[in-house]
């Protein structure tokens, strides 16, 4: 396992802190980890150190299936410089409602799809891309990878 210093270096600029470090460690293994309460079972994102439903501190980052439904969808015609991102084709960015819990959402880009096919209500599955030397979660259209 890499050290905390190595984790912070690998994800420089991502805002890694004590409460989301486990999530970013999961990315290195291509696992999407979301905080879940060990007492009442409620999921939460972004990662916070206490369960908002029961105030338990027994909250740990757990894997999710990565399947869900697009809830918000934007296409960036311009944006911040990022390795491998070419805004000449508008960059899709979707917020996906994960199947694990109503209202539990994760935001990422979509790969392997025409922008015309990316729409609110579409089913997606988790996939991964590499950017700046680290894995970045992304979604593909369709329910299964």
């Amino acid at each position: 396992m890499i050290t905390d210093e190595q984790l912070l270096d690998a994800f420089a600029g991502y805002g890694v802190d004590r409460d989301n470090a486990a999530h970013f460690r999961g990315r290195l293994e291509h696992r999407l980890l979301i905080n879940r309460c060990g007492d009442c079972g409620v999921w939460q994102h972004p990662p916070r150190p206490v369960c908002p439903a029961c105030w338990s501190t027994n909250v740990t980052a757990q894997p999710v299936s990565g399947t869900g439904t697009i809830y918000l969808a934007v296409f960036l015609h311009q944006g911040p410089p990022a390795p491998g991102v070419d805004y000449s084709t508008p960059y899709p960015l979707v917020t996906v409602e994960l199947d694990e819990q109503p209202g539990l959402r994760f935001t990422a880009t979509v790969i392997g799809a025409d922008n015309d096919d990316i729409a609110i209500g579409a089913r997606v599955h988790l996939d991964w891309i590499e950017r700046g030397g680290v894995p970045v979660p992304a979604f593909g259209l369709g329910g299964a990878s």
């Binding site: 934007v74 015609h77 917020t95």
Partner: protein, 390 residues
């Protein structure tokens, strides 16, 4: 929990409001110099000196910086709230109502910064103040910050089948109002065809759906109702203030379009206020992004959910190319964030005060007595204030 408890009602007043005016270009000035100009202007208009100020409230430059810059000898209260500006109103009004101080100088200097306009990067003094390059990794895959409003615009259009023209009404209305406002940055006419032809920036929002980065400042004097009565301007009384926020307030976790800060703000204001939309003469819904305005109009109760565009069309004055609700009530009469300039709500507040003081020039609504300002967006910055003339 929302209660009708409101002991501050009518105990605190705006004694004055002033502006430097706004330009959508890099002035060769600092943010502090803009703040200083607005602060000095409002104090002089109120007939006050530095010695009369015992409270200071603003974001940037900080309250201590402004105190020393203006030679204000002693204050007993100050604060540096986050934007938008009803945060400042809530802090200052509370401080005056509770007696922590008596007379607050509140200010807001809008300033073009490298992160919101590429051309601001060309000014080495602005570049130097940016604190180094922004962290870019991860930003592109997030809907935090301004992208969040674009994301929820996609949801709104999806749920209600809204045509882009409905957003366009907000932009054209602002521009037509700005044409009557010498302080506004953008005063050239804008047509619906111009709007629809504009460059897309983040689909579904285009260039004219987004506020304009400007240089300029507003300042306010907030004091007790008793003190304000002795000052030269007509006092504008604070009726109610609310800063509404929902438990799910991260941009992508907000429950849905019916459960964010706007509904809570409106419910709180209606519970605390002596009046609401049926009795207001001027209305200021925030418009940092056009989609925010459509939602405020609906959540304030002017029309049903998804109906704001039709409402604007129904109350559209074709000759003036702007909205006059029931032929009478303008919306963002100063030109709003989209045309006066991106002031994070200070322009909306200043214009509301000026309308109630009868100082709104060519834009004056005759006999305006009551104003509603609903500032900010959805997540952690939906807020409002109701004001009326003494």
């Amino acid at each position: 929990m929302i209660t009708s408890r409101n002991p501050l009602r009518d105990r605190v007043a705006f004694a004055g409001a002033a502006t430097t005016g706004f330009v959508a270009e890099n002035t060769g000035r600092s943010q502090a110099s803009l703040a200083a100009e607005a602060c000095i202007k409002v104090l002089r208009e109120c007939g006050l000196t530095a010695k009369d100020v015992d409270g200071i409230c603003g974001t940037s430059p900080s309250a201590p910086y402004v105190q020393s810059m203006l030679g204000i000898p002693e204050v007993t209260w100050f604060a540096n709230p986050a934007m938008p500006l009803v945060n400042h109103v809530a802090a200052a009004v509370s401080a005056v109502a509770s007696g922590l101080c008596e007379t607050v100088l509140a200010y807001h200097a809008a300033y073009r910064l490298p992160w919101n306009t590429g051309s601001a990067w060309k000014d080495p003094f602005r570049r130097g103040s940016s604190g180094g390059p922004l962290p870019l990794n991860g930003v592109v895959d997030s809907v935090f910050g301004s992208v969040g409003y674009t994301a929820w615009a996609s949801r709104y259009l999806h749920e209600f089948g809204t045509p882009r023209e409905h957003l366009g009404y907000v932009a054209v209305n602002d521009r037509s109002n700005a044409a009557m406002n010498p302080a506004a940055a953008m005063r050239d006419p804008l047509t619906m065809d111009d709007y629809l032809a504009a460059r897309m920036v983040r689909w579904p929002l285009c260039l004219y759906d987004m506020d304009i980065a400007v240089d300029g400042a507003d300042a306010f004097v907030i004091t007790t109702a008793e003190r304000a009565r002795d000052l030269p301007n007509p006092p504008v009384l604070v009726d109610a203030v609310a800063l509404g926020m929902a438990g799910k307030n991260d941009e992508d976790q907000s429950v849905d379009l019916d459960h964010h800060g706007q509904q809570i703000t409106v419910a709180a204001l209606k519970a605390k206020s002596d009046f609401w939309i049926d009795d207001c003469d001027v209305y200021y819904p925030y418009d940092g992004f056009s989609i925010i305005t459509l939602n405020w109009i609906e959540n304030a109760g002017w029309c049903g959910r998804g109906e704001a565009g039709d409402f604007l069309a129904e109350h559209w004055d074709k000759e003036q190319q702007r909205v006059l609700i029931n032929g009478r009530v303008p919306i963002n009469s100063h030109g709003g964030s989209l045309s006066e300039g991106g002031t994070q709500g200070s322009g909306h507040l200043r214009e509301a005060v000026h309308q109630l003081q009868g100082k709104a020039g060519a834009r004056q609504v005759e006999g305006a007595q009551r104003a509603i300002v609903t500032a900010g967006g959805f997540f952690f910055n939906a807020q409002g204030v109701t004001l009326h003339r003494m």
